[in-house]
């Protein structure tokens, strides 16, 4: 019996395919930097259809079915695209329209996610209640601001002042827009930079910070546990007050590459002076297939000047009457 050449080649090809498939899978699992650490580098979008907190009516339901997820996504996009019924000529009518280009969730990549919420602990998928001391702090801040919201720049939010965008702090959470981040690695360091944030320089040797200098973005130290980068952050200052937290907030983050396009981002937030229990969340970071560009906030902060001068104009108008 004569083996025809095509048969021989087909067998050879089949053998090669069978042999290389496991190697390909191994290569993805073992993606490493030039110096042998797990490779987390890339530009990612944080935007995911799962909301931070689970809608109350879903209870402890952690996952949608694909069909349910599709309906939920359409509903959510419809909600943000709706024209708000705000009265023209009022302050409430001046707001971002998230249905417009560049703000609409339809425009960019959305991380695939069947979860019903980013928060997974507690099991209702919602931020635990504030402890009484935190409520007191929050209300005191609110009271101090009342009637003085436009007195000067220090009365405006940290974002309007271009000091810090809370969504770029640890823990990193998708925000209204520009929910992108870049991860850069070099021997001994990982830098995580939210698009609208300051670069977080994270040493990966697990070092303890020896000074006690608080920072707006806290002090982060990292260590590798297998393929996961574990980051501990403490040392926030008193002014960050992320979601009413104190300077004693402790954030733990875990970053693990799942495949070429995805890094899992998991976090835990602890602050007994703010929340009755620690809470945790998880969501995927998806490859942006693009660049992040410089976000020079204070350099282009026309908003602050316009907000304050607008209020001065309103006051002058009122005086004339």
């Amino acid at each position: 019996m004569k083996h025809t050449q095509p048969t021989y080649l087909v067998s050879l090809l089949a053998a090669l395919i069978v042999l290389t498939v496991p190697l390909h899978v191994c290569a993805q699992e073992q993606r490493k930097t030039a110096w042998g650490e797990p490779d987390l580098a890339g530009a990612y979008t944080e935007f995911t259809i799962a909301p931070l907190e689970r809608p109350e009516e879903l209870g402890t339901k952690e996952y949608f079915t694909p069909a349910e997820a599709e309906i939920f996504q359409l509903q959510r996009l419809e909600e943000v695209n709706q024209d708000d019924e705000t009265e023209p000529g009022t302050q409430a009518d001046v707001h971002y329209d998230f249905g417009t280009y560049a703000l609409s969730a339809n425009e960019g990549i959305t991380s695939p996610n069947l979860r019903t919420s980013i928060i997974i602990i507690p099991n209702n998928g919602r931020i635990p209640p504030l402890v009484p001391a935190a409520i007191t702090r929050r209300d005191a801040r609110g009271d101090a601001r009342l009637g003085h919201e436009f007195d000067g720049p220090e009365n405006r939010s940290l974002t309007e002042r271009c000091i810090v965008w809370p969504s770029t702090l640890p823990p990193i959470l998708p925000g209204g827009y520009n929910s992108n981040l870049q991860i850069f690695q070099s021997p001994g360091y990982v830098i995580i930079q939210g698009e609208m944030g300051d670069p977080r320089i994270i040493p990966t040797d697990g070092r303890i910070v020896t000074d006690s200098l608080p920072q707006w973005i806290g002090n982060s130290t990292g260590r590798w546990e297998g393929a996961t980068l574990v980051i501990e952050t403490t040392g926030f200052n008193d002014n960050t007050a992320w979601r009413n937290a104190t300077a004693n907030m402790h954030v733990t983050e875990w970053l693990t590459r799942l495949d070429d396009d995805t890094v899992e981002y998991r976090f835990r937030v602890e602050d007994p002076q703010t929340w009755a229990e620690p809470w945790e969340g998880v969501y995927p970071l998806t490859n942006l297939n693009g660049l992040l560009f410089e976000y020079a906030c204070t350099e282009g902060n026309y908003g602050m000047a316009n907000i304050l001068s607008g209020e001065r104009a309103v006051e002058q108008q009122a005086e004339k009457q």
């Binding site: 007195d151 720049p153 002042r161 070099s186 360091y189 670069p199 910070v209 350099e299 902060n301």
Partner: protein
Amino acid sequence: MKPFFITLFLQILLAAQQVYAAGPLIEFPRASDGHPDFSGVWQTLSSAHWNIEPHVAAAAVLPALGAQFAVPPGMGVVAGGTIPYLPEAKAQRDRNFTARLLEDPEGKCYLGGVPRSTYMPYPFQIFQNINEIVMVYQFATGLRRINVGGTEEAPLDSWMGWSNARWDGDTLLVEVSGLNGLTWLDRAGNYASANARITESYTPLGPNHVLYEVTIIDATVFAQPWKISMPLYRIVDADFRLLEFKCEQFAEEKLYGHLRKPEAQ
């Protein structure tokens, strides 16, 4: 007798070669690809941030601030001493100087751009990977991403510019374009426009020193290309880390003070 002298001569030659070869470059750390590894924390030591041209000491911009905030003297970092401005550009520089209290972008906490960020009197940290180098500057947490081997033109303007780098032996050459022309070169009002093309070079000088040189080409401002040159000094302090210098809140009075609600009468 002769072979002895020949051997001696050869031994001396070999020894001399070894001494020459065992120069500073061998002690400078090297990356896994064999190139010098510029990773670490660096800072310059000069008064270039006040004025890159040679200058004598001068009063503070607000004399009431006294001697502490007076302008220290400087030998200058400009090759040849003087920046070759075109006549109209020099007039602009002089107007910048007169208006510096209000107009210096640094006072507004605006990003320092390139090359000013390098010689601000604050540390900066270099993170070197094979294809990408990141530099983080303490002032206003400026950040540059440098594409090693990159050739793409700047897709848009920015404060910190668009940087492509290549190796020339042990020298890292960085071409910077896409600068927006809104930064200054120092506190004395020296400046370049958005047409500027900057070439930086980083060359190890010793285990803890790097020679930093910058060529600036901008035909709309300068009569010819010119160069600045200064060493970078490695920060060797134990446990040193780059602390935040988020100056936005310190610039609010300057930027928005005139828009505050007037005090009630």
